[in-house]
Symmetry: C2
Subunit: 265 residues, 2 copies
């Protein structure tokens, strides 16, 4: 019996998590362990300073576990407590409300953070996200804006089946799937590389009622990225983007060239 | 006049931050912006839910800025508020008390998280860390255990000079420098790739005074890694490790092979 770990970063009660469960529930034993609430932007943060709580909850009648920490913490407790240290055959993270594209999001997204943690144990991992109409919806902890997951469920299911059958291609740790707004089962799927950036970062200074400054990190989206990238596929071409990721970020470079920069002469 | 942004994840009052400042202070205008306290394990977390405070503090008589958020937040406020959106010529993150080696730490270390944020704007970034005798020292917010930074300062200074002169080798975003315990100016320097793992993750269950379970994430170090890796160089060979990193974690794989996994047939 195959075992599939399902998690996310939008929290245990997010509709996208239930959508992820639906996409894989008949492919094996599904174990659901996710943060107790919204944990966007935390990347692969791991809780090393504080202990964690884990509560059993019911999700559409299915047992699931809500973790007080990050998505990565959820993967760790999922594997080492709930699954007693036995690695799952597949990890699925999502379905995230909010596209996770470009090198900016690979390291800041909790959805991908959880996938990286699973991949670090050699578990094939799939992250799935859908584009939002309004960037603010990414951080909507009440899940008040309704998004449809039908197409995402179909694709996630198909990819999960094939990865369980054949494993990941050599050198691939994570498949990062992103659906554009209004994707249907007929929307073209393209394999992409990460765009360099997605945000034109900006900071807004405000004054509190006592006149002292505070700062909000914000910024607009960059939509005009180069051909072949995930940002281009989702934003400009309206295609479904699948990006193969590696957790080994060693640069491909002649080591002699690097040694030349660091050696004492 | 060259401008160098210095930050860390151990916090603005960490001795390692002052060591980083000392290593580059005569190479240009140094701008110091760092978290107000210990922020280990947060990777490239960015604060999107809460606003940030930034306080001017004095560090050995030098003006510096303490940010209420993460190392990445510090880089963002450093560039977009303190430096008014003008990119620095170099970013230095560290000197961290605690080695940052393997793919496990690249995505969980705040030291490297800050370097990734700087690199995302095209700023050459150097992360520097020293091995600790006791893993607990990594999280010592009182800086009560004294570590010597002399050799780290010398190397960081040398690499900073050369990167400012020549730029990074093509394809390299970050140089990740790690010194073994008791390194001296004569310790051999090797260019390495990331080891896959550094931790044998484990979770410890405890009971609170009311009998309810809580969990600590922990685990032992893996010291027996393959030749050519950073973990092997630092732990087994006692050498100084320099790993060139890219922020583009797209896997090197035939895209047709990936398409085959995802396409609707």
């Amino acid at each position: 019996m195959r075992r599939i770990l399902v998690t996310n970063d939008d929290g245990i009660y997010a509709p996208g998590l239930r959508a992820a469960v639906r996409s894989v529930e008949d492919l094996g034993e599904v174990v659901v362990v996710a943060p107790s609430g919204q944990r966007s932007g935390v990347g692969r943060s791991v809780s090393v300073f504080e202990p964690l709580r884990m509560a059993e909850v019911s999700l559409d009648g299915r047992r699931a576990y809500a973790v007080s920490g990050t998505p990565t913490d959820s993967v760790i407790l999922g594997i080492f407590v709930v699954m007693k240290g036995e690695l799952p055959d597949l990890a699925v993270s999502g379905i995230n409300v909010g596209e996770n594209i470009s090198t900016d999001t690979v390291t800041t997204s909790g959805t991908i953070g959880a996938a990286i943690e699973a991949a670090s144990y050699g578990v094939p991992a799939i992250a799935a996200s859908i584009q939002v109409a309004d960037q603010g919806d990414k951080f909507d902890n009440n899940h008040s804006v309704e998004y449809r997951f039908d197409t995402a469920i179909n694709i996630l299911r198909r990819v999960a089946i094939r990865v369980l059958e054949r494993g990941m291609p050599a050198g691939v740790d994570i498949l990062n799937i992103n659906l554009p707004l209004n994707a249907t089962d007929d929307t073209e799927i393209v394999v992409t590389r990460l765009a360099r950036k997605i945000f034109r970062t900006a900071v807004e200074e405000r004054r509190d009622p006592r006149g002292r400054p505070y700062y909000w990190i914000g910024g607009d989206l960059i939509c005009g990225e180069r051909e072949g990238t995930d940002v281009r596929a989702v934003y400009q071409e309206g295609k479904i983007s699948v990006t193969p990721l590696t957790i080994d970020s060693t640069a491909r470079v002649e080591f002699a060239e690097v040694l030349d920069l660091v050696e004492n002469i």
